[in-house]
């Protein structure tokens, strides 16, 4: 049986990747943000996961509006980083945790989820940036295989927070029933507060972000029962991406230990943060 060794929540802002590409991570603007991930990287180095489940949304790179799946599970053996318009980034391909992915897909469908199952698809900054923040940028290959889960947060209707939470429960079942001894870390990504479009563009909500980071561990019920509209109002239209952290949180114990919290405002136009959780 594979094992969940921890859950990480993190922003996935594209300009974080750009800062890394340009070697700006130690400049005064970016250093305080990246410093907050030192602990996260140490935690990863110490706990040595074999597989990273990454919950994220595509941002108009691997999926168009012609066909919008609510949830997608990747079952590929390999995922190329998406070219988001700036040309290919110099990071290695991601190797898929193929067997675990199919096992998870089976469990989802058995348990009345309706995923799209994808095996020819690229991964955009929603996955790339969290992987770089947690694992650094490897020369040749990533130290883990990945199980990507895409959540539609672009075109309404987006899934409910409760549905994301419920998917976390199945994810946990799938990992714990997987025949193997893999150590699995779950990355819930996106947010925190930001809004890119409309007259309220640039909206940030530090109070809400800090509330999220300080209560997602001990009082997730508050967040999973909140309406989608309330996410948009509180965190901004793109800040509603935070629902994806609930897949991670739903997969963890109700009692978790907070190993680390980090918040930085703003990264680009976004409230940026990270949390590291272990089951108690």
């Amino acid at each position: 049986m594979a094992e969940i060794i921890g859950g990480i929540g993190t922003s996935h802002v594209p300009s974080i990747g750009v800062a890394l590409d340009k070697g700006l991570d130690q400049t005064p603007v970016w250093k305080p943000f990246f410093d907050g991930y030192d602990y996260t990287k140490e935690w990863i180095a110490e706990h040595k996961p074999d597989v990273a489940v990454v919950v994220f949304n595509d941002h108009g790179n691997a999926m168009f509006l012609d066909r919008v799946p609510t949830f997608t599970v990747g079952v590929a053996d390999r995922y190329k980083p998406a070219d988001e318009g700036w040309g290919p980034r110099d990071i290695p391909d991601f190797i898929g945790a193929e067997d675990m992915s199919w096992h998870f897909a089976d469990k989802l469908v058995e348990n009345h989820f309706d995923p799209m199952i994808a095996r020819e698809i690229t991964v955009d900054h929603g996955l790339q940036v969290p992987m770089e923040l947690c694992f650094g940028r490897p020369k040749d290959c990533w130290p883990v295989t990945i199980l990507p889960i895409w959540v539609n947060t672009v075109q309404y209707p987006i899934p409910t927070p409760q549905r994301c939470w419920d998917m976390g429960k199945i994810l946990r079942d799938a990992i714990e029933s997987f025949p193997g001894d893999e150590r699995v870390v779950i990355l819930g990504t996106g947010g925190l507060s930001h809004q890119l479009q409309g007259a309220r563009a640039g909206f940030l909500n530090e109070a809400a972000d800090r509330d999220w980071l300080s209560t997602i561990a001990r009082d997730p019920d508050k967040w999973r029962s909140m309406r989608r509209e309330d996410y948009v109002e509180k965190f901004g239209s793109e800040g509603a991406e935070l629902i994806m952290w609930l897949v991670m949180r739903g997969a963890m114990n109700s009692d978790v230990t907070v190993k680390h919290t980090h918040y930085h405002l703003p990264a680009s136009m976004t409230g940026a943060g990270c949390i590291v959780l272990e089951n108690t």
Partner: protein, 115 residues
């Protein structure tokens, strides 16, 4: 989520926007491929025509009027690819949405002391 109270100054990218901006977003998404970026840069108007964009939308794209592109159904995630081909900082796009100068936007919205 279509019958709910709208959130002030916050357009949700719902069916209406998705339908209205379909061709614009499709054109923009295609810029994720290098040959399309080359074609866009070589003859922008011809490239926009090949996606069947109407005049209003073409004008918005060619004048880099981000606010207008969003009004016409553009979704930021797609149209950001235009800003990759013809570099524009996302903060400038944000400021255009807010109807502010970049400097005001950075101070008033993002809480930065200066640009």
């Amino acid at each position: 989520m279509s019958n709910n109270t709208p959130i002030a100054q916050t357009p949700l990218f719902d069916r209406k926007a998705s339908i209205r901006g379909y061709k614009l977003n499709k054109m923009a998404m295609s810029l994720g491929e290098a040959p399309n970026r080359i074609a866009f840069l070589a003859d922008e108007e011809a490239f926009l025509d090949s996606y069947g964009l109407d005049d209003e939308t073409k004008t918005a794209v060619m004048s880099r009027n981000w606010h207008e592109m969003v009004r016409l159904g553009g979704n930021l995630f797609f149209i950001l690819k235009i800003s990759a081909v013809d570099p524009t900082p996302i903060i400038a796009i944000g400021a255009a949405q807010a109807g502010m100068s970049v400097e005001d936007f950075m101070v008033q919205r993002l809480g930065k002391k200066n640009g």
